[in-house]
C-alpha cells in the first residue's frame, strides 16, 4: 500500500472517530438537556429516586461479575469505581 493511501485511510478513520465522539457527546447532552429539564427536586419529591432502577450501584455483585468478564475479554476497562484489585485474566 502506498504511503499516501495509507495516510489517507488513517486520516479518514481518525476523522470518523472524532465524528463519533462528537455525536455521542451530543447525544449525552441532548439526553441531559432535552428529556428532562433541570429542576432539582425538593426533599419530598424524591420518591422515584428511591427506586432501585434509578440507583447507579443498586446491584454491586452483578456489576462486579460483569465488569470482571469485560476486563478479561476486552482491552481497556474501568471508570466505575476504584479499589477492586486485579486478577490474572488481563
Amino acid at each position: 500500500m502506498s504511503s499516501s493511501a495509507s495516510a489517507q485511510r488513517w486520516a479518514c478513520a481518525n476523522l470518523k472517530m472524532k465524528a463519533l465522539r462528537i455525536v455521542v457527546a451530543g447525544l449525552v447532552i441532548a439526553a441531559l438537556g432535552g428529556c428532562a429539564s433541570y429542576a432539582p427536586p425538593q426533599a419530598w419529591e424524591k420518591q422515584y429516586l428511591a427506586l432501585p432502577a434509578m440507583q447507579f450501584d443498586a446491584d454491586k455483585l452483578d456489576a462486579k461479575n460483569i465488569q470482571h468478564v469485560y476486563f478479561s475479554k476486552e482491552g481497556s476497562a474501568g471508570g466505575y469505581g476504584v479499589g477492586g484489585g486485579g486478577c490474572g485474566c488481563n
Binding site: 485511510r9 455521542v24 441531559l32 433541570y38 427536586p41 426533599a43 469485560y70 471508570g79
Partner: protein
Amino acid sequence: MAATRGPRPGALLAAALTLPGVVPQAVAQSVPDTGYIQFKYLDYRDWQPGARRMRVENPGLFVLKPLSESLVIEGSLVYDGMSGASPLYFNALSGASGEGVTDYRTAGDVRLTKYFDRFSIGVGVAYSHERDYISRAGSIEVRTWTADKNRTYAFGFAGSADRISADEGAVQGERKNVLDFLFGITQVLSPTSIVQSNITYSRGHGYFTDPYKLLDNRPDHRRILAWLTRYNEHFPSRDGTLQLAYRYIDDSFGADSNMLEVAWVQPLPHGWSVRPSLRYYTQKSAFFYFGPPVGSGLRPGEPYTADTRLSAFGAWTPGILVAKQLDDGWSVDLKLEYYEQRGSWRLGGDGSEGLLPFSARWIQVGVTKTF
C-alpha cells in the same frame, strides 16, 4: 395497656421491607438502614467458530449490613472455577488436544463506610488469589454532598500490588503496582432523572505481559484515563426507567475505546420486572499488536502481542434480566447475555483482520434477602 399493643415491632418492620421499590439505600448519600445478603451464580462459556474455549463457574456472595445509624460494612466473596482452552496467539488454542487448562480464583473484599452530616468516608481492602496471581488492593473513597443532597462529589483513591508467578518457573516473582484516582459528580436533574459522570485515572507499573501467550511482551507501564457518564430517567406514565451509559477510554497501550449501553427497566404485575439491555463496545488496537501471521511486526526489544483482546474490534452484548420480588424481603433474578466480538464490527471500520469472531454467553442467577 398490653391489650392494645399491636404485633411485635420487628415483625411489622420485616413485613414493611417487602414494600416494592423500597431499596436499602434511598439515594446514594443516605445511610442504608437495612442490610441485605445476596448470592449470585454466574455460568460463563465462550467459543469461536469450530471450537469451544473457556468455561467459568462463578458463585459469589455479597453482604451489606448497617452496624449503626452512621456506619455500614459491606463485603463480597467470589470464586471463579475456570476450565478450557484459551488462545496461545490469535485464534490458535492452547493445549495439545485443545483441551486447555483448569484454574481457580478466590477473591474477597470488605469496605467500611462512615457517614457524617454532609460527607462520608469509605475504606476498603481487596484480596484475590489464583495459582499464579495474587492481588492485594486498598482503597479510600470520600463523598460530599450539597445541603439539598442533589449533588454529590466523589473522590476515590486506590492502590494495588500484584504478584505474578507463572507455571514452570518461567516467570517468577514479577510485580505490578497500580494507582487509581477517581473524581465523580452525581447530579439529580429533576424528580425523575439523575446523571453521574466519573473520571478515573489509572497508572500502572510492572509486569503486564501475559505469560501464557506466545511472544507476548508488553510495556512495563500503562496509563488509562476513563470517562464514564451514566444517566437514569424514570417515566411515571409507563412506570419504566431508562438507563444510559457512555464511556470513553484513552489508553497508553493504544487500545482506546468507546462504549455505549442502553437498558430499560419495566416493572410488571405481581412483583415481576424485566430489563432488556444492549451494549456496544469498540476498541482500537494496541500500538504493539500486529495481525497474523504470528511474529510479523516483532522487533527485538520492542513490545509485541498477538492477543486478540488487544486487537481492534467492535462487540455487541444484547441481554435480558428478569426479576421477581417475593415475600419477606426475598427476591430472585435471572440474567442472560450474549456477547460477540468481531474485527469488522469496529466503528469506522479498520478492525483487525485475519481473526475469527469471538462469542460468549453468560447466565447469572441471583437470590437476595433484606434483613
